[in-house]
């Protein structure tokens, strides 16, 4: 058993604890800011079902597999599921939220550049999970 001094271990543990406190504090601060939905965000209802995504804009227009949004505006997604669990994911904008039947989850984003990005399902949902994909098209309304 240890008859020797343990001080290097305590110093080391102190450093690890300090690191964890720093990581936790930074994460807390970042998440707090990220979760704050802007007042003027437009709502898009996202519905996942085996194995495609449906989008409904505020004005009632519906899209399947493709989502058109305008650059520079904020959008709030209300995510539903019709059958099993899915996860709505636009990886390029770090948009990720599970679509769970019986629940409505929300997440928001504001596209900054014109272009197209992949939409995919990131929660296992069965046979065609691998191809439950879509396209986000960010457009400039003035163009």
């Amino acid at each position: 058993m240890s008859g020797h001094s343990n001080w290097p271990e305590w110093v080391y543990i102190g450093v690890v604890v300090a690191l964890m406190v720093w990581v936790g504090a930074e994460a807390w601060e970042a998440e707090r800011l990220v979760e704050h939905v802007p007042e003027d965000a437009k709502t898009i209802i996202v519905t996942g079902q085996q194995w495609f995504w449906t989008f409904e804009h505020e004005d009632g227009t519906k899209e399947i597999g493709e989502l058109h949004v305008e650059v520079g505006k904020a959008y709030k997604f209300e995510i539903h599921s019709k059958d099993v669990n899915h996860a709505f994911n636009i990886h390029d904008y770090v948009v990720l939220m599970d679509a769970i039947p019986g629940r409505v989850n929300t997440v928001w984003f504001a596209p900054t550049d014109v272009g197209t990005h992949d939409i995919q399902c990131r929660e296992y949902c069965g046979l065609i999970h691998y191809n439950m994909r879509g396209t986000l098209i960010v457009e400039d309304p003035k163009a």
Partner: protein, 508 residues
């Protein structure tokens, strides 16, 4: 010290034995068989993902079944039974008792594993090792799904029986001259992990029954169409299976505590901090389960609580790493095969833990969750840490079990190839996750970065596959034809670094 009787016996004498080393041998052989079965499924998965499009697996359903059975097999039929094998061989000897506390219960706990393994393999379910509801309730094809549920049920009971046996053996059967503070750290690791099992498993046992009745349509616990909630299942599942992560890793750390001091020819740096870290891990392991669920729509407060609970486990794990490094410091280290595996395992444990901190930080988790990052992350634990510690320990106990030496060169080649392969597969998968590739997908779009990284990972997996073939050949050949081991000091370290007590319990 000889752990197994060298005199050849008919196989039925071992199968119907309740002696702890015989049951240990049964655990050992069955767990290794499942290691090779589950590992070959991994190679099939990697071969399929080498390029976009269907390669060797015909359809998505087969692929989904393969990764489900791969995970279930390696967690429940390799890692846990392998730890039980080591515990059966060593724990009674370490606490100086003639056998496990309940020898018949011990044999029963083992004999529940083959039927459970048969249910899982003959069923070949497709709903992931998480058995995700409501998919598993309304969509997953039977009878595979039901067979999986029954298989897991049996394995859960087997784990609980084994855990009771370890707790009683260590706490009640240890030699009266021995205080709990003198019990070796390997035995402490079994005490900690067994206590976690006893607290954690009943929750999942209940969830499994609810899943089964949901599938039968007589209840709707997790089925939203009947007013249930899939998130309830997520909580019940992870309340068992986050602590279960520590059930898997703690015995592997315990095995490293046997190997590192011996091959460094030094006493362990701090026995007390090892014990403290085991106990701390088994408590804080219960405070982090919902970090698997950040993206299910949890509130900011919930996420914060589980992030803090997760980060709280880091110092305890870091204490083990410190203890290993401080033990090796200034030691006269002999890099025999077991030591190479243990040191490699510690390096990968550190890498896995560092990646885990990134997952725990809430905003980063939304980048990594359910991508290949997570696959790489937990494989660094289950393969890089737990399998490395276990395989190292297998080499370490090999001369005591068989009375013969394994081939040292083949052991070292096995390690080097496995280490390189593990780094290639799982470090690459971390990066692949950052590029957004979801886990559990049969096919992927031809994105150049995804293709490149999948190919690196597949090459790494094939290197591991070849090294495992070398391992199998070494084990089979050496156990029959290897040169006789000097069981007083098989590794040529100097005898005083081994256990002083004569260790051979009588048969009964």
């Amino acid at each position: 010290m000889v752990l197994e009787l060298q005199k050849p016996r008919p196989i039925w004498q071992i199968m119907f034995s309740t002696h702890h080393t015989d049951v240990g041998l049964l655990y050992l052989i069955s767990s290794l068989a499942f290691l090779f079965l589950g590992g070959s499924l991994a190679l099939a998965i990697r071969a399929e993902l080498f390029l976009p499009g269907a390669q060797i697996i015909g359809d998505a359903m087969t692929f989904n079944r393969i990764f489900t059975v791969h995970g279930t097999t390696l967690i429940f039929l390799f890692i846990i039974p392998f730890a039980s094998a080591v515990g059966n061989y060593y724990v009674p000897i370490m606490v100086r008792y003639k056998d496990m506390a309940y020898p018949k219960l011990n044999a029963i706990a083992f004999w529940m594993i083959p039927p459970a393994g048969a249910l899982i393999w003959l069923g070949f379910a497709d709903f992931t090792w998480y058995a995700t509801p409501p998919y598993s309730i309304i969509s997953a094809p039977g009878p595979a799904a039901d067979m999986w549920i029954f298989g897991l049920k049996i394995l859960g009971i087997s784990s609980v029986l084994g855990a009771i046996n370890f707790v009683v053996t260590i706490l009640k059967c240890k030699h009266p001259d021995m205080s709990i503070g003198q019990v070796p750290l390997l035995a402490w690791s079994f005490l900690s992990s067994s206590l976690i099992i006893l607290v954690a498993i009943p929750t999942f046992a209940a969830a499994l029954l609810m899943l089964l009745t949901d599938r039968l349509g007589v209840s709707g616990f997790f089925n939203p169409a009947m007013g249930g909630d899939p998130i309830a299942y997520a909580h019940l599942f992870w309340f068992t299976f986050h602590p279960e992560v520590y059930v898997l890793v703690i015995p592997a750390i315990g095995m490293m505590y046997e190997i590192i001091p011996r091959f460094s020819r030094k006493p362990i740096y701090s026995y007390n901090s090892g014990v403290f870290a085991f106990v701390l891990l088994s408590i804080v392991g219960f405070s982090s389960w919902a970090h698997h669920m950040y993206a299910t729509g949890m509130s900011f407060t919930e996420k914060t609580v589980f992030m803090v609970g997760t980060l709280a486990a880091v110092p305890a794990s870091a204490m083990h790493v410190f203890n290993f490094v401080a033990t090796m410091w200034n030691g006269r280290i002999k890099f025999s095969t077991p030591m190479m595996w243990a040191v490699g395992g510690i390096a990968l444990f550190f890498s896995a833990g560092a990646g885990g901190v990134a997952n725990a930080a809430m905003p980063l988790d939304f980048t990594t969750h359910d991508t290949y990052w997570v696959v790489g992350h937990f494989h660094l634990f289950v393969m890089g840490t737990i399998a490395f510690g276990s395989i190292g320990y297998l080499y370490y106990m090999f001369p005591y079990v068989t009375g013969r030496m394994y081939n040292e060169t083949m052991g070292k080649v096995h390690f080097i190839m496995s280490f390189v392969g593990t780094v290639l597969v799982f470090f690459t998968q971390h990066v692949l996750g950052l590029y957004g590739m979801p886990r559990r997908i049969f096919d992927y779009p031809p994105i150049p970065e995804w293709i490149a990284m999948n190919q690196i990972a597949t090459v790494g997996a094939m290197i591991i596959g070849v090294s495992m073939a070398i391992f199998l050949a070494n084990m089979i050949y050496s156990s029959g034809k290897g040169k006789l081991a000097n069981t007083e000091d098989p590794f040529g370290i100097g005898g005083k670094y081994y256990y002083p007590f004569e260790a051979k319990n009588p048969s009964h």
